[in-house]
């Protein structure tokens, strides 16, 4: 069995074989793989007895359920008004030049994907950055680069 097959089977076993488990199963795959490959979605469809189109329909609706390959770490910068006013543009510029990628792209070593996000719920402490599931409020361009460097060191 391939890795992804084991992962899908484990997740379905954990969350149950019903339509209501589709979201937790997809979320579980994204947590491990960072995105949903065609292979994984077809596998989920088979396991939950759904059509692959339905699985893709759900997956493609949600921002956090990516259907294209992503880096090992996903960096999201909040771009909504309060963070905009607090200087999210400077953060994005600093990260783009330090990671040598543009928003929406993945670095060559596949360690990082840089994205923007709508309101992350830290308007009083903007600008804010989310790396995977970890939040960094009141970030400065310098601090953002340092955080990314730490992640780069810690991920092989």
């Amino acid at each position: 069995m391939s890795n992804i097959e084991t992962l899908v089977k484990d997740l379905v076993e954990k969350h149950g074989k019903s339509r209501n488990s589709l979201m937790p199963v997809l979320q579980g795959i994204v947590k491990e793989e960072r995105f949903l490959s065609e292979e994984s979605m077809i596998m989920v469809a088979k396991e939950l007895d759904l059509s692959a189109a339905e699985v893709y329909g759900t997956a493609s609706f949600y921002t956090f359920l990516d259907t294209e390959p992503r880096g090992k770490n996903i960096v999201r910068i909040c771009k909504t008004i309060s963070c905009h006013m607090k200087g999210k543009d400077e953060i994005i510029e600093a990260l783009e030049s330090s990671m040598k990628i543009k928003v929406g792209e993945t670095s060559h070593d596949k360690k990082f994907t840089l994205l923007t996000a709508n309101c992350l719920g830290w308007c009083h402490k903007g600008p804010v950055m989310l790396v995977n599931d970890v939040v960094f409020p009141e970030i400065t361009p310098q601090k953002a680069i340092e955080v990314i460097q730490d992640y780069a060191k810690n991920s092989k």
């Binding site: 339509r19 759900t58 956090f64 008004i81 996000a117 308007c123």
Partner: protein, 389 residues
């Protein structure tokens, strides 16, 4: 009109342990479900997510449904730009939210409760799961037949809309349903469901703890009690504050503004923009401008064109695309103000765009499309020259 002044209160964040909450529940459950619902109705508590539907009535309608399976859902899909109170509540006093859910479950006859937490708040999960586990254990040991689970979202603003939230919990695209039927009749898994905001559920616990009268003593006839506000933007004191409802917006700006306030966006991107000249006559509450708690303050250095542009970009991205008025409307409003700004269209085109926004208000399927007219018309009306030049 009653003349209220700004008053800070402290009910929501009052520290309470799990066992204290369990004691409040046991004390409350000594009453009959009908009596509890009457208390909640009598308290005048209205939904704190922004829409402001009377909480007790919601419970009553759901209780009246004859179905062995019912659900209580806590809406923690806090996605409205400028709102961050629910995150703080879940981080610091989650057990009071669970208390409100349990009391609701007993009152309407539900055995299961779910918290739908937005994916952006996943870092709260380890701590929340711990509180929920302990809480469930204590409920079981006291013989209270109610269990709480948690479900995560995956980054979709629209899932804060109640029927889209049910769809998402059922593993589907987060597209709002047609109403009626309302959740009280057919909600999660097509069963009768009460869905309440995080903050509303905490107030339920507090009302049961301190009594209806103390809650009613605050606020006005139409807006009983207090409310948690998320303050951001051009203010020296951004943060989360619990204030009595019914205050004039001018009082709020006096306390929280930086002395140069040009406008306040009340209720987030989908709320209303109130310019300086209207601050005095605007009441924060259901008789004036209702809000889910978002208060964004803009000073005179800000371009209101940029503010509106940000909001429209937000709606454009977050519209689920299901109904045409919202999908095409959001897109055309955004393109429209861009072309007026560039001089490709005459300033009078803004009036046509306002008509489009007003059409969305009647024709869109859910609250997202219906409320785009709020920021659009209020900003275009009050800051027309900033949009054009």
């Amino acid at each position: 009109m009653e003349n209220k002044i700004l008053k800070k209160v402290d009910y929501i964040f009052q520290e309470t342990s799990v066992s204290e909450v369990i004691d409040i529940i046991i004390k409350t459950l000594a009453k009959s479900p009908d009596d509890i619902i009457l208390d909640v109705i009598d308290s005048g508590l209205k939904g704190r997510g922004g829409a402001g539907f009377p909480t007790g009535l919601k419970w009553k309608f759901t209780k009246n449904e004859d179905n062995p399976v019912k659900y209580v859902i806590c809406n923690a899909d806090e996605g409205e730009p400028g709102t961050f109170k629910d995150r703080e509540i879940l981080e610091t006093v989650a057990c009071k939210v669970l208390g409100g859910m349990t009391i609701c479950g007993y009152s309407i006859g539900a055995k299961e409760g779910y918290i739908y937490l937005r994916g952006e708040y996943n870092y709260l999960l380890p701590q929340l799961n711990k509180v929920i586990d302990e809480f469930n254990k204590q409920l079981k040991s006291k013989g209270i037949d109610f269990v709480i689970f948690i479900k995560s979202g995956s980054g979709a603003y629209i899932c804060g809309e109640e029927s889209a939230l049910f769809e998402s919990m059922e593993g589907k695209r987060g597209e709002p349903r047609n109403k009626p039927p309302y959740p009280a009749v057919s909600g999660y898994n097509s069963k009768p469901t009460v869905i309440n905001n995080v903050e509303t559920l905490v107030y339920v616990t507090m009302i049961c703890k301190m009594g209806v009268e103390r809650f009613k003593a605050l606020g006005t006839k139409d807006s009983r009690g207090s409310k948690v506000f998320s303050v951001s933007g051009d203010t020296p004191t951004p943060g989360i504050f619990e204030l009595e409802l019914g205050m004039p917006l001018a009082d709020f700006v006096e306390d929280f503004g930086d002395g140069d306030t040009k406008a306040v966006q009340v209720g987030g991107a989908s709320g209303h923009c109130v310019p300086r000249k209207q601050l005095k006559d605007t009441i924060i509450g259901f008789e004036g401008i209702p809000t889910g708690g978002s208060m964004m303050i803009f000073n005179s250095s800000r371009s209101m064109y940029n503010v509106l542009h940000d909001y429209l970009e937000f709606f454009n991205e977050e519209s689920c695309g299901q109904c045409t008025p919202c999908r095409v409307g959001c897109q055309q409003l955004l393109k429209g103000i861009e072309s007026v700004k560039k001089g490709e269209r005459k300033p009078l085109y803004l009036d046509e765009l306002k008509k489009l926004a007003s059409t969305m208000k009647i024709a869109a399927k859910c609250g997202l499309g219906q409320s785009v007219a709020n920021p659009f018309n209020s900003i275009v009306d009050n800051f027309r020259e900033e949009i054009i030049y």
